[in-house]
Symmetry: C2
Subunit: 202 residues, 2 copies
């Protein structure tokens, strides 16, 4: 819970207002739950500001995120807040499981396709709030170069907030990010033999 | 990210289906961001299931959660998913700051009033998904007895999921909860002298 007052006044030549409105890169990493859920929760605030929202879903299966997808799309359709564009990287695109018949290279290609789309949208300032869901995996696996990602994010024009989720976010990304939260698992129902259930896990 | 398979098959006399659908008590604690945001993100899934959602907001100020409140209320009004009832414990009710003119006892009374309402709603099975936002503070401060809370949650009827957020959740609550995530702060913009901004912090 932020205390409302910064602990340091930086010597960066910016006014408080400029510094306040600086677009942020945020990373939710760690092995616990809530990384993506918190990102989608943040999207509620962006929606309330009327900001165009772009979700880029790098997910395990089509079932995942169905609740968030339906809800955020429904919100976008109300016309009372921001628009919501849901970019799903291929239906059933299950490269995280690494179980599909296609070769590894194909998964990497698709991952990079998604990243290329993100780059185009950032350059065009298409959205004001981006959720790159599970994107950290791609960096961890080396499928996308973290250095390039940091450069693209650093040089992005305008006022574009970006939230990146996923385990094992590379240190180089954490060093660059404005806000990093590590979601740690303390206890999970699956540890006690309980499987995931609708309304909770999806 | 759950792996889809429990690591233990418990000897609890329940079928897999019964165990799967057991209502959960979830706690988001820790000093990092995302505790409440992830709870509101989970509410998107509950909404998509058509579940009645009850939010009990124990907040610092009226500005906090305005984005989530507007968005979740707008979702409820679409009629495409669950209903959303937003229980705000007194407009401007700022007991967390402890800065109001009223005495400490008054704050405690209001906190307990909120808890009494939660108890009534649980007994009546009014909602299927509860967000008790910042509720952990009340327990940490001893304003509400953690033992009583655990008993009420343990004995709640039907299929009612409860998410409790806030720093310093007592160990007794963590021991009882089905799912606990600790949000750890790794880096926050305020550390670098940046104040909170609209669309991000509220």
């Amino acid at each position: 819970m932020p205390q409302g007052q910064p602990t340091v006044i930086p010597d960066d030549g910016l006014t408080t207002r400029q510094r306040r409105n600086r677009a942020l890169v945020m990373v939710h990493t760690g092995v616990g739950k809530g990384k993506s859920t918190a990102a989608f929760g943040m999207a509620l605030r962006a929606w309330n500001q009327g900001w165009p929202i772009g979700v880029f879903q790098f997910v395990k299966s089509a079932k995942w995120r169905v609740g968030e997808e339906n809800a955020l799309k429904a919100l976008g359709e109300t016309g009372k807040g921001g628009t919501v564009t849901w970019n799903k990287m291929g239906e059933g695109w299950s490269w995280i499981q690494r179980e599909v018949a296609e070769g590894e290279q194909s998964h990497e290609d698709k991952a990079r396709e998604g990243w290329e789309q993100v780059k185009r949208d950032l350059a065009a300032e298409k959205y004001r709030f981006y959720v790159l869901d599970e994107f950290a995996y791609l960096l961890h696996w080396g499928w996308i170069d973290t250095k390039e990602v940091v450069e693209v994010l650093r040089d992005r024009p305008g006022q574009q907030h970006v939230v990146i989720t996923g385990r094992n976010a590379p240190q180089e990304l954490l060093d660059f990010a404005d806000l990093v939260t590590d979601m740690s698992k303390v206890k999970h129902p699956m540890d006690a033999g309980q499987k995931g259930q609708r309304g909770i896990e999806w």
